[in-house]
């Protein structure tokens, strides 16, 4: 056991040495793997962030109830009372047509245009905060309110969220397809690197086999090489994502300030980062394994 461990440590060290003794070749390989993995992983991180944003926005979905223009103030108040007494409504907020106009003026900067209007085109409205937030009960409430008289329109403010979520689902699927294809590329890259390494060490392999090296012993350094290259490639992918996210955040800050939001892109979580590294190591190992199985036994000592 101690010898076994010592052998592994020795192989690990000599593999590291080998990687760093050809820094340019190693760097290019790691870079290629990093880009191949960084692309789908970056898309994934981006989607993850958008998802978080969507979750924030839909934290408390609302239903806007617009009331007919020709309804009197008393009736509006009456509708408010009815809403307040409804069993599936938590609370309501009244937005009078004057308030709405003020807000519009304030938020859009269209003061001149609005000032030119003969009369206020906006209706009185209630913002309804329901008790339950799941889609079926929201829709049920909306459908019920739509049947009430004197209401112009009942609008669920979260409809667009559903569309966005469908879009996100699509994006995630695209990322998975992209990831699978590029993972294949990663295996191919490792396969070829290991093949070259086996050819380079042809003499050593031949001599080792002649003096009694087992298959496992000969195979080991190449598997380590594939594994380490994959791991470094994964780390490079993470670095690429981290740098991209940081760079994007600095320009995103200006953009989001305009919208009064403080949304920034988050780095991949520790869990996701670990998964990325493990996955890239595994792919490297797989490529090395395939290559060893294919090429090592073509070297037969004579």
């Amino acid at each position: 056991m101690k010898i076994w461990l010592a052998q592994h440590i020795r192989v690990f060290r000599s593999t590291l040495y080998r990687l760093f003794s050809t820094p340019l070749a190693t760097f290019l390989n790691v870079m290629v793997i990093g880009i191949a993995l960084g692309l789908p992983a970056g898309v994934y991180v981006l989607l993850q962030n958008v998802q978080k944003l969507v979750d924030q926005v839909t934290g408390s979905p609302q239903i806007s109830v617009f009331i007919n223009m020709n309804v009197s103030r008393d009736e509006v108040a009456h509708i408010g009372k009815q809403l307040q007494q409804h069993k599936s409504i938590d609370r309501i907020e009244y937005v009078s047509r004057d308030q709405a106009l003020e807000q519009l003026k304030h938020n859009t900067g269209l003061t001149d245009v609005i000032g030119g209007l003969a009369q206020n085109p906006l209706p009185d409205a209630y913002i309804v905060y329901p008790k339950k937030f799941d889609a079926p009960s929201l829709e049920a409430l909306r459908d019920e309110l739509q049947k009430w008289p004197k209401l112009e329109k009942v609008q669920m403010d979260s409809a667009w969220v559903h569309k966005l979520e469908a879009l996100l689902k699509f994006g995630r699927l695209a990322a998975i397809i992209l990831g699978s294809l590029l993972s294949f590329a990663l295996v191919a890259i490792t396969f070829n690197t290991i093949r070259l390494q086996i050819l380079t060490q042809r003499d050593e392999i031949e001599v080792s086999r002649l003096i009694g090296a087992t298959h496992v012993f000969i195979r080991r350094p190449f598997l380590y090489l594939g594994l380490l290259q994959g791991l470094l490639g994964g780390a490079m992918a993470w670095l690429i994502i981290a740098v991209s996210v940081t760079t994007l955040n600095s320009s995103l800050a200006e953009l989001t300030q305009l919208y009064g939001s403080n949304f920034i892109l988050q780095l991949p979580s520790a869990m996701d980062s670990c998964t990325l590294l493990l996955f890239s190591s595994y792919l490297g190992l797989l490529g090395a394994w395939l290559s060893v199985a294919q090429h090592l036994w073509q070297i037969d000592p004579k």
């Binding site: 010898i3 076994w4 010592a6 052998q7 020795r10 003499d203 050593e204 031949e206 001599v207 080792s208 086999r209 002649l210 003096i211 009694g212 090296a213 087992t214 298959h215 012993f217 000592p301 004579k302």
Partner: protein, 225 residues
């Protein structure tokens, strides 16, 4: 220790390297295989090391039949053999010391023990002062000695040497023979291929003489040393 029984070896293309070869080598014996180049000496040694396999007949080394040996067991057979190759097969990307240490690393020896044994092996072939050198800097005779050191560092019970004195002048050749004989004296079984018959005669050991793949004579030496 090594026994051939009606061994035939034919290479693809029909060339018959060995025809009906039979002999026995006992434990601790020192035996020379002689014959012209192309007589089948190297093939005979390769059969012993299981680098080649016989087409018919049996090759038994250390009680194991080479033909039926599982590939998984092959490395362990070879660990018991010391091989001195005609073309040396020295690795030029590492020092003399690392070349000799390789078999010990393969067998999984403790690092400290490996260093001790490597030094001892280099000392036996008088290469200890060159341990840090690069193999390229060694003369032909020194490279040959390096190859011997690597073959014996693992303390094998059988040593196979293919033309160990091949391209060396008489002085160097005598050095090599003296080294090989010292292993014979400590009980190692030696099988040495040589085209030069004057060397085995000089030591009076048993000679297996091959001619075009056939065993011609098996002569006993004048007297065991």
């Amino acid at each position: 220790m090594i026994s051939f029984n009606q061994v035939h070896k034919r290479f693809p293309g029909g060339y018959e390297a060995l025809k009906n070869v039979s002999f026995d080598i006992g434990e601790g014996e020192m035996v020379f295989v002689t014959g012209h180049s192309g007589a089948g000496k190297s093939t005979l040694l390769k059969l012993v090391a299981a680098i080649e396999h016989p087409n018919s007949g049996s090759v038994i080394v250390n009680g194991q039949n080479i033909s039926t040996l599982k590939s998984r067991a092959l490395p362990y057979l070879r660990r018991n053999l010391g091989l001195v190759f005609q073309d040396h097969k020295i690795l030029f990307d590492r020092s003399v010391f690392e070349n000799v240490m390789l078999p010990l690393q393969i067998c999984g020896f403790d690092h400290r023990e490996s260093i001790k044994r490597t030094r001892a092996a280099l000392d036996k072939v008088n290469l200890l002062q060159r341990e840090k050198s690069h193999p390229v800097a060694l003369s032909g005779g020194e490279q040959q000695r390096l190859c011997i050191a690597r073959a014996i560092v693992n303390r094998p019970s059988i040593l196979l040497a293919d033309e160990p004195t091949g391209n060396l002048d008489a002085d160097y050749a005598n050095d090599i023979i003296a080294i090989l004989k010292s292993f014979h004296q400590v009980g190692v079984t030696l099988l040495i291929a040589s085209h030069d018959e004057s060397i085995p005669r000089q030591f009076g050991t048993r000679i297996l003489k091959l001619k075009q793949g056939a065993m011609q004579i098996t002569q006993s030496g004048a007297g065991q040393v």
